[in-house]
């Protein structure tokens, strides 16, 4: 495989990580809430897609919005009932509560679907390769990169140009001052949290073809997502984008060129970045 191919695969993988981690980065930046159950919502999106496709025979593309909405709704339910009580609690309490929820979701997924990998049959136009200037690109990865770039663009525009976006930025920047200005930070947070979890759900659905889907997803990807978030810096879309690309490319290239290092490389990258900049590449705190 040519270096271009490796870079592209890594970038596509990075875009997947970006979708999965963006929501967590913003909610962490805004409320300082350590939500380790983030990937449980992503997993939910994955299982929604699998169920709709395999039991109800929906087309793949049509399941994606449903995966988004299902994860968003589920997250709102948890936010209203459980998370809300712990906004002012310690890191440790937040970690414990959300690890607890993740444990429960993993067990629940295993109960309903078993521990085997879930199969998905992609539509024919997403299978196979597209050749551009002599290099083969996987059609599905191109699709993945396309979706991610469109979403990134929409997010950036929404944050820069809309009233909602201005409120989110204010809340991330200085929560106390935003409250003082009369911004409904809790309401803004609930909406952002739902959107972020929805994106994770979408990411979970899109991830199936690349990394598979089984109940351990909520934990394995949590680690990747946390790495992206802490390397990128909290509350920064640009940071998450850069970190996700860096981690995605490092992981894929590392596994291709130096397979004996395994997952070693990304942990090293994370430790190195955090040693250099404790608040992450784009973090301010």
């Amino acid at each position: 495989m040519a270096i271009v191919g490796v870079l592209f695969d890594g970038f596509a993988y990075g875009m997947l990580l970006f979708l999965l981690s963006m929501g967590l980065s913003v909610t962490l930046g805004m409320m300082n809430f350590v939500n380790l159950a983030h990937c449980a919502f992503a997993m939910l999106g994955g299982y929604v897609t699998v169920t709709l496709m395999n039991r109800l025979e929906w087309p793949f593309i049509a399941t994606l919005p449903v995966a988004f909405v299902a994860a968003a709704l589920a997250s709102v339910l948890f936010e209203r009932t459980l998370y809300r009580r712990l906004y002012r609690a310690s890191d440790l309490d937040q970690v414990l509560l959300t690890i607890g929820i993740t444990f429960m979701s993993v067990a629940a997924a295993a109960y309903v679907y078993g521990t085997v990998q879930q199969p998905v049959q992609l539509p024919s136009y997403l299978r196979g390769y597209v050749t551009i200037i002599g290099v083969n690109f996987s059609a599905y990865r191109l699709f993945l990169v396309g979706i991610s770039l469109v979403i990134t663009l929409v997010l950036v525009l929404a944050l820069e140009r809309t009233r909602y976006g201005a409120q989110v930025r204010a809340a991330v920047d200085n929560q106390r001052m935003a409250r003082g200005l009369g911004i409904d930070v809790d309401g803004i947070f609930a909406v952002t949290f739902a959107l972020g979890s929805g994106l994770a759900g979408l990411g979970g659905a899109l991830a199936i073809d690349i990394v598979g889907l089984d109940p351990s997803f909520a934990f394995t990807f949590l680690i990747y997502v946390l790495i992206v978030v802490s390397v990128g810096g909290l509350g920064s879309i640009g940071g998450s984008f850069a970190a996700a690309s860096l981690i995605g490319i490092t992981d894929v290239a590392g596994k291709y060129y130096v397979p004996e290092l395994g997952a070693f490389l990304i942990y090293l990258v994370m430790l190195a970045v955090l040693m250099w900049r404790p608040a992450g590449l784009f973090g301010r705190r």
Partner: protein, 327 residues
Amino acid sequence: MSTDTMALDARRHIARQIRWRPAEVIFWLATLLPFVLFPTHLVLASQIAITALFALSLDLILGYAGIVSLGHAAFFGLGAYTAGLLSKHGWGEPLSGLVLSALVAGIVGFAASLVIARFRHLALIMITLGMGLLLHEAANSASWLTGGVDGLQGVKMWQVLGQFRFDLYGYTAYSYALAVLFLSFLLVRRIVHSPFGLALRGIRENSVRMTAIGASARAHVRKVYTISAALAGVAGALLTQTTSTVSLETLGFQRSAEVLVMLVLGGAGRLYGGLVGAIIFMSARDQFSGITPLYWYFWIGTLLVAVVLFLPNGILGGLARLRWRRR
């Protein structure tokens, strides 16, 4: 002279909080009960004692100094592999094995603490998690040394003190583990009740203020982290010595998460929290060993959520509050 009597009273008040309580004596006497009541479960009892020691080591950094760690199994695993490798390469003497394991884990702990002491909050959680995962990966890929996923084979332990052979019923294992646990507990109890222990609680409560009263919080954190890592190493070595195997799982994230669960369940920052948590957790797991591990995790998850929402200071914290209310 009333200020003098008040000053004396202040000394006495502090001394009183440090005194051994009757409940403590009863607790330690009760740890001897398994020999009489459950002689067929001594292997389990030894596992509980080892896990309790591991939880105790975590309590020192989490409960007292307030450092959240998601990678404490790294030091447990280091101790376990050190003891295992020593024995595999011809040195099966248990006590010196413990000391060497503590040394290795302590040195690595000290090196890690140089980094740990600089971080707080999410970055700290990520750093501890990352170091744990890194070590796990390293042990996994260095299979020529560690045996990789198959675990380390060929561990043969000599007799404890040249007298007591590790038997099938766990009689020696439990006696040995319990003795080490008790001695370690005495050490931790002393640390907690020393000026250094007070400084640790100060860091947990307000590290900015610690600086403002002239303390080097980082130096304290480095020290306690090293001690905690060494103790975790002892616990790991005990597991190796009493089971004669080392698996990759000793380094795993799951072990880090479980010990956190136990400590929080029992009550962090209370000396006995980790011990009580380990007893309950390990006994429950033994009782439910028939059910699929995945469902067991459902109940752990439920338990965690319930503890955070309803029992913020763990079981011991809940008991203390009940007693306080009744007065």
